[in-house]
Amino acid sequence: MKRERQQNAGQLSRRQILAAVGFIGLASLTGCGSGDGGGDSKDLSKKQNGAMKEFRVGQQFKASKPLSFSMLHNDNPGYPYKASWLFWKEVTKRTGITIKPVDVPLVDYEKKRSVLIGSGDAPFLIPKTYHPSEVAFVSSGAILPVSDYAHLMPNFQAKVKKWKLEPEIDSIRQSDGKYYLLPGLHERPKSGYSLSFRTDVLAKLGLSLPTTWDEVYDVFKAIRQEYPDRYPFSDRWSTNTAFTVGALQSYLGQAYGVHAGWTYDNISFDSKAQKFVFTGARDEYRAVIEYLRKLVAEKLMDPESFTQTDDQAIQKLLAEKSFAISANPQELVQTYRYNLSKQVKGATIEMIPVPIGPAGPVVLDGIRLENGVMVSSKALKSDDFVAMMQFVDWLWYSDEGQRFSKWGVEGVTYTYSGGTYTLEKGISLMGSDPSAKKDLQKDYGFFNGVFTYGGSWELVSSNFSPDEKKFQDAMSQRKQLPIAPAHPLQSAEQEQASLWTIPLQDHVAQNTLQFILGKRPLSQWGAYVSELKAKNMQQLVDLHNKAYERYKKEHG
């Protein structure tokens, strides 16, 4: 027994030493993890490896020697990543660049992106980043202020200038006056959602499709008279969102010139007063609530709209318990029209351009920028930096590159004539040809959301269905609301603001719903605003106005 004990004691001490060594190792490892700042200087003369001496708009980018860059790839389950995609091969053939994708499932893309950037293990290119999510990484120095290197990107600069996107670009600048994201650029604003109506029912009642919100009200009223036991309108997009009926509130808000629903933001710019104000306390916001309150109070809108799932709302439409619902062009065709044609004889449904309200024919501001590309600060240390920026410029911003990543290779995946793109036989895009064996996204890797967005109106509209074309053509005639001027917060302010933001937004969301459903009378609006004040509404507004003044003074 004694012998064994001694033996054990011996083993133990060895283990203790091992454990201790392990701890020291761990500590030194984590100690080493701290970053060593961003890139050194703006001297790019030594980072020209593979770059083109002169790279201009309209020129094909071709690296002078084969290079490869790592890139975070958002893997969409609709078209899961394949190494065999023609896209990868063709990119290499045309540019001499091999993209090395780090594949991340779509659902948790943001999470993995944060970990990779935080651990200093991020790939050089980080696409599919939505403003303002890049802001979180700015203070760590892990991502590059790309505005310092915009001169390497002639296509990007040309498009910003030609499409007069400077105010939009200014709106994403940080407090140092730089921007850290290369956003997708749209020539014209593209709208997504609007109301859709059962046109056969309207025809039967001798009604035409409404063009203003007043007419929408009249049409609902007339339907209700004909069908007193049903709600004319039962809406969807109320789940997984702070603001119920998020789509409806958003495009209704647009008609009043205010960000509501999905697009709600606590802070908005009052261009008359030339200062920032609190969105949820604006008169325009109140008018949106009043309009919806009227619909619910007069039983024109199903009160369950605010709680039901999308499926329930669609089911009511298909069962003819309602005759109008929010739509986007894809849902209109694939869900409503397709199922109605199977279940209701003679049913037709159309989506209308967003009805016009007091703000006139406008669309929301800021929608000409899309998600975009962040560049890891590590990339600046690479000798290939200039070539990489030129490559990014060609692939994401040149007409040729955008056409390529959207439609593929002419003669192989598509043909182009008379301003229209036609897919080659046997290739389908989002179900355009159910009998086709191949799919442009799944089998060729084109039309991939990582690379394809924005661009000229000609290119953006080139794949619209007839319904979407009609809708977008009408919408693209409208004027964009003025862009809020730049008002970037400094990082301490940012922290303070985020403490106030969520409780305020929750309070707005809750009360919006209560006002609409009549659980709280609108006569209590004043009390509601004082509640917001108690939750630091004014401090938040002041913070943004201070930032606005400061930025104006420093950056003109």
Partner: protein
């Protein structure tokens, strides 16, 4: 034995009713999911499916069965679960056995080391940096090694080993067995119950886990089926899985979640009844020291 009193019988009755309700409440979602997975799209959307499939339909099963990505992920899950469970069992058993020896010097320190990790962790990014710099990324070790010792399991096992009569081991030692011989030939054969329980605990948790794989795997072909499931749910219901307006696609969208949930939980559900008797006695034995 005393005849049960009336109040006792009433208590038994009430108890039975409440427990039956609990069973119903916990079972219902499972049954509902299974019913949905076999039902027709229209009945699902109309909310008619409760306990029994309505409009029997196998389209989604057929489509998932033909998806090579699904089987590849499934294979990965099986592989990861088997390897990780094996590694975890070896390490946890060894650690627990050592800790169960009261005469071990520094035993409290070793227990403390383990328990410390229950309350404090390095955090996400340090863990990621560690695993990456050890070169374990994109391999099964990234999943197996960091999760090899679950402190809860370790403590249950330790308690079990402590409850074994030390005389047995002394006898074995007199008969000339080494330390490892005692562990392998005497202690482990007597510990089937706790070993089975631990295998179950570990394999279920490895089977269900997705975050580690999501974090440490950079290629789609390495993902386990749970990541596939997460992705498909987001894809099919988020409208990103844009496809043709055909019968098949709306059917698939209606119950692909139910189908994949059934398919991923099926193997574990099959294992459960067989391990269950060990499971109950294992936990009891570990908890109540003799």
């Amino acid at each position: 034995m005393v005849k049960p009193s009336r109040s006792h019988r009433v208590f038994q009755g009430v108890n039975g009713v409440i427990l039956t309700l609990v069973v119903v409440v916990t079972l219902y979602p499972f049954v509902n999911i299974i019913a949905r997975s076999f039902s027709n799209e229209r009945q699902i959307r109309a909310g008619q499916v409760t306990l029994w499939p309505k409009g029997f339909n196998l389209t989604t099963y057929r489509i998932v069965f033909h998806d090579s990505a699904f089987w590849r992920s499934y294979g990965n899950t099986v592989f990861y679960t088997v390897v990780s469970t094996a590694v975890a069992m070896v390490l946890t058993t060894c650690y627990a056995y050592v800790l169960s020896k009261k005469h071990l010097k520094g035993r409290n320190f070793l227990v403390g080391v383990a328990v410390f990790t229950m309350f404090f962790t390095g955090g996400l990014i340090p863990n990621y940096v560690l695993v990456t710099s050890l070169g374990m990324k994109n391999s099964v070790w990234a999943l197996a090694v960091p999760n090899a010792i679950s402190v809860f399991n370790l403590l249950v096992m330790k308690a079990f080993f402590e409850s074994l009569p030390s005389e047995l081991e002394e006898a074995a030692q007199i008969d000339g067995l080494s330390t490892y011989g005692i562990l392998l030939r005497v202690v482990l054969p007597l510990s089937k119950a706790v070993v089975a329980t631990m295998v179950l605990f570990y394999s279920v948790s490895f089977w269900n886990s997705w975050f580690g794989a999501f974090l440490y795997m950079d290629r789609t072909e390495l993902m386990p089926v749970t990541v596939y499931l997460r992705n498909i749910i987001a894809g099919a219901t988020g409208g990103t899985n844009a496809g043709a307006a055909t019968d098949q696609l709306s059917q698939v969208a209606a119950n692909i979640q139910a189908v994949t949930i059934v398919l991923t939980s099926l193997p574990i559900l099959c294992v459960y009844p067989f391990v269950q008797r060990y499971f109950v006695s294992g936990v009891m034995l570990g908890a109540v020291k003799g």
